[in-house]
């Protein structure tokens, strides 16, 4: 029975490790620079992670059905390009702009679903291909240029459209945080409290058994990829609102952070499953690290080393747990 103790210790770290790490990091960063704990900075952190979190929740939904959506980053880029171009190029109102961006997401989600459900391409490869395609579509659509108010058009004139002032609010405090929290809570409720969420987890656990239990597996997979594309688009929209322009491949960098947050979230509180709250905690961890390290003057170009290491550690915990339980 001497074996027993380290096992429990491991379980403890598996469940509470992420949260403990966050607490330790807050303590360390505060000790090094008391400004870290100021409410301004904390809000700053929450704001900085909100786009990642929204996109990561989409990834989480795709992970729940044992899928993997790699196209979320470029879906966000495309959504930000569509929404800004609707305002600037076509002088459309807010509703049309949002609708167009979400429509784009639905098309992406359906295409992903066709490749995965009908053509049976492995999820990661199908969405990898889709990532390339959408990235190209977004670049082609914007002709490789940043879209912004008063930009110079191809014919030499200036773009006349303006961005809706209401739209500008999405990316500002407090709305950006409100949107993020709403997404997290709704997704968490959907996954853990409704039968649809339960079915998604069942499909993720054993697709064949799920089908033979009468669960319409394909329908739920389509739903998962639609949700993930729609959330990616929402992330892109909030991003566009925050910077008020649509830059080339603006959403691309969010992919890796979102994936990291979703995977770190697997182990939070011992869930062992993709879950929105865990994903949020994962994003908080990344956000705190990033913010604290910037404060300590770690150069931005070294940041990925830290983020990658945290992801590797979280994955190590999850997979070690899977093989040793």
């Amino acid at each position: 029975m001497s074996q027993k103790k380290p096992f429990q210790l491991f379980d403890f770290f598996y469940k509470y490790g992420t949260i403990l790490t966050i607490i330790v990091l807050i303590a360390v960063f505060t000790a090094l620079n008391p400004a870290f704990i100021s409410s301004d900075n904390l809000l700053n952190i929450l704001r900085s992670i909100s786009i990642v979190t929204i996109i990561a929740v989409g990834v989480t939904v795709s992970l729940a059905v044992n899928g993997f959506d790699l196209s979320v980053g470029s879906s966000a880029s495309l959504a930000s390009a569509i929404v800004i171009s609707m305002f600037v190029w076509f002088s459309q109102n807010l509703a049309v702009a949002l609708l167009a961006a979400f429509l784009g997401a639905i098309v992406i989600g359906l295409l992903n679903s066709i490749m995965i459900v009908k053509l049976k391409i492995p999820d990661m490869l199908a969405t990898l291909a889709m990532m390339f395609i959408i990235q190209g579509v977004a670049l082609t659509y914007t002709k490789g240029a940043t879209i912004s108010e008063n930009m110079v058009m191809a014919d030499g004139s200036y773009a006349e459209g303006t961005i809706s002032p209401l739209f500008a609010k999405f990316g500002q405090l407090p709305w950006i945080i409100v949107i993020m929290l709403a997404v997290v809570l709704i997704a968490q409720g959907f996954l853990s409290l409704t039968k649809h969420g339960r079915f998604m987890y069942m499909i993720g656990g054993n697709q064949e058994a799920a089908r033979l239990s009468g669960i319409p597996v394909n329908r739920y997979k389509v739903a998962a990829y639609l949700l993930s594309a729609l959330l990616a688009a929402l992330g892109g929209i909030v991003l566009a609102s925050r910077v008020m322009t649509a830059e080339i491949n603006a959403g691309g960098p969010y992919l890796m952070d979102a994936v990291a947050a979703a995977f770190i979230g697997l182990s939070v509180l011992g869930a062992g499953k993709p879950n929105a709250l865990g994903t949020f905690v994962g994003a908080v961890l990344i956000g705190i690290l990033q913010n604290g390290l910037v404060m300590m003057s770690v150069p931005y170009y070294a940041m990925d080393i830290v983020k990658g290491s945290v992801l590797a550690f979280a994955l190590a915990l999850t997979y070690y747990k899977q093989t040793h339980s």
Partner: protein
Amino acid sequence: MKTVLDMKKISIAFPGVQALNGVDFRAETGRVHALIGANGAGKSTLMKILSGAYGHYEGNLLLNGEQVEIRQPADAKKHGIQMVYQEVDTALIPNLSVGENIMMDQLVNGADKQWIEWKRLWSEAEALLKKLNIPLSPKKPVSDLTLAEKQMVLIARAISNDCRFLILDEPTAPLSQTETDELFRVVRDLKQQHVSIIFISHRLPELFAICDDITVMRNGELVGKKQIAETTQNDVIEMMLGRKMDEQFPARKHQKGDVLLRVSGLTARDVHGVDLTVHAGEVVGLTGLVGAGKSEINKALFGEDQHTSGTVEINGQPVSFRSPHDAVKKGLVLVPEERRREGVFVSESVLANLTVTTLGALAKRSFISFRKEKETAAAMIERLDVRTPSAQTKVRYLSGGNQQKIAIGKWLLAEADVYLFDEPTKGVDVGAKREIFDLIAELAARGKGVLYTSSEMPEIFGMTDRMYVVYDGRIAAEKETAHTTEEEVMYYSTGGN
């Protein structure tokens, strides 16, 4: 020269379980030794110790009275002990050839040589196949082989080393009758070549056909050791159960209500124009050899096959199933053959497994009522007598019999009209089998229609009112169970008409 292997006072514990408790085991070369016990009795654990998979046991291993130390697989191989595991695919590399797979140990251990001597490899592999009388080309890729052939490749690999003790873990479970006969021939040949074969199995008739000695285990302890010639199947079952065997099958009142399921001209992949009916309150057998197309008929009925034609009526209503989802909605459900892969969610809790089919009824506007779910699951656990520490326990940790009860239980909750059971007792120990038979009998008594698929003749005769014999994807014969014999069914199963 005879070699005697003795395992003395073997004990081993895993976190929370004392898996073996002072077990003695003896095997000698030139004899076939049966090791039998209910699921969880510890037979696989004992053999894994012998093959070096578990190093942390207590007790002694002796070869011809001399103590040997076996703590890892390499030690076991050094002493000529080889094991062929039940999951053959885990031990083979599918994209390599038969020859490379057979000679794998030599390839790996000859790592000091930088070049593979292909000529020698092919000829040695061929010689081994010849020694076993297996008509397989060494150059064929393993991915093209049948399960039985893969098993032969593993046996050939085992004897490519110096092999004095060959452990076969439930080797016949996935095999058809002809394949089993072929395996037995190989086993007899090896016996002639002074190899000791240790045979783990649930199937008593087989053990009595091939083995010389039998060791029975129960709950991690040795309960009996006999020569096959001096014991009977009933004795062995009593030793396994630790009590007198109850009647194997429940008594059923034969009743026949309206037609619940009527199938005509059902055609799908490997299914050719099948007609059958199931009445309310009836248990109808679907039997035939392994590979006859019984599972395919079940899957086609359940909407699994996309290219199904023919007509299916449930309660007189014509239905067409494009997916299991449709079938379930129309009141037809399937307990599939491959339990772990198709029947249960091993990484989910007992609770989630039991309620998966009725979640809609347990939810209000899609939100699950966790209280109702818990009550429903608790009632079902009680009714099925599922042996589980709690409703939250993951199904992975339950025994095969209890997993099967859960695979059946989820459909009991769903209250369907027609129940299809595909080999429901596969890999289930004797005690749990009876409980499963009881459940099925109870369904019929409540006026459900049951289509009971099995290639185990005693089960078909013990459980059904009427049966269809399948051969080559067709119904070869329909018989009243009371008016036929095993010989007659076997005649139709093997293509007679």
